[in-house]
Symmetry: C2
Subunit: 183 residues, 2 copies
DNA sequence: CCTTACATGTAACAAGTTACATGATTAG
DNA sequence: CTAATCATGTAACTTGTTACATGTAAGG
């Protein structure tokens, strides 16, 4: 739904190949809109057919040939139109939360382990984000707006991860006593 | 991916028709796993074919006939197996966040409006959750564990919505000055 | 020698959304 | 009279994942 526009955003900043886009998505947009190379190539083909992109073939001898994509004027128009629309909040489907409705069927020991795993993953993700914050955005107030905005997208990741951890603490306060009572 | 198991969870608690399930999903699982009636009916058919459910036809005169689904022993086994596996954290794809990478292309006035819209929606959602918390869970410490767990799923919604609002405050601190500077 | 980086794709499948379809009853 | 509730579905489409496919070069 939004992947084509995420690609337009990336290409509006700078023309790129599918491979470049894959790397950029992995580095900077993993938190915002994860995308596989297969998916990216497929969408690029569609955008090309829509006339929103143009390609330029680049022949290389040492490396495989590549294709550099850029926005056409229609591509820029489509992007700006999308940017002006209010986008709906995405539905969050969280498998872990389903388990909170399983009642009797739930094995509390296993459940506790899963909560631990989720916590660890969240801590790692948070540390990763905090490291980026430190190295790239310690002087964020002096940076131009477009960098500040990227910083705020990172902050979304940080704030969400911290919220998840706070919630996990709450969960433990309820689950731990029951675990001990049961044996 | 997880919808079939969400259905098993619901049916393990109490046998139900597709319509019942749609209502339960709308009321209690909207935050956890939103699902349309079409999707639910389709998945029920699959689960039936897998042998995880049985149906019982109920003929009515005043209302359309209905079908009540219940778990088979295999259904219970499949559910417990799934509950014991660690589920991967879902990828969050947030269209709004893409806009934070749009730089020059972004119309700051429109963007500000979208942020306002997101804030309003989030406030409403939060109020809704807080109302549920008040009316059903004010005595949560005295409730049995399976209700406490459902409460914690609600808490996830509350904590996430509050985190979103905190983040929106941060965003405004950066975006508002730029808006004023630009005219 | 093995893995990673570079570079591009096709095909099959799974999951979710939207549109269409039908038909009775009840509440405002 | 109109909308909502009850009750069940089919079909087309979009989006995302996984598996398969190919081939060179550089680094450890």
């Amino acid at each position: 739904m939004s992947l084509p526009y995420a690609l337009l955003v990336a290409l509006a900043e700078k023309p790129a190949t599918g491979y470049d886009l894959m790397l950029r998505f992995r580095e900077r947009l993993a938190n915002v809109w994860p995308a596989s190379h297969q998916h990216i190539y497929r969408e690029l083909a569609k955008l090309l057919e829509l006339g929103w992109l143009t390609v330029e073939a680049i022949n290389q001898t040492e490396r495989p040939d590549k294709k550099r994509y850029s926005l056409t004027p229609q591509g820029f128009d489509a992007l700006r139109a999308w940017l002006s629309e209010v986008q709906p909040r995405p539905a969050v489907r969280h498998p872990l939360l389903i388990k909170f409705f399983a009642g009797e069927q739930l094995d509390l020991m296993k459940f506790q382990q899963e909560l631990q795993a989720f916590r660890q993953e969240t801590v790692q993700r948070l540390d990763h984000y905090l490291a980026i914050e430190q190295t790239f955005f310690s002087q964020v107030d002096t940076l131009p707006l477009h960098f500040q905005l990227q910083y705020l997208a990172l902050r979304y990741g940080i704030v969400s991860a911290q919220a998840d951890l706070n919630w996990l603490n709450e969960v433990e306060r309820f689950v731990k006593p029951s675990l001990q009572a049961s044996h």
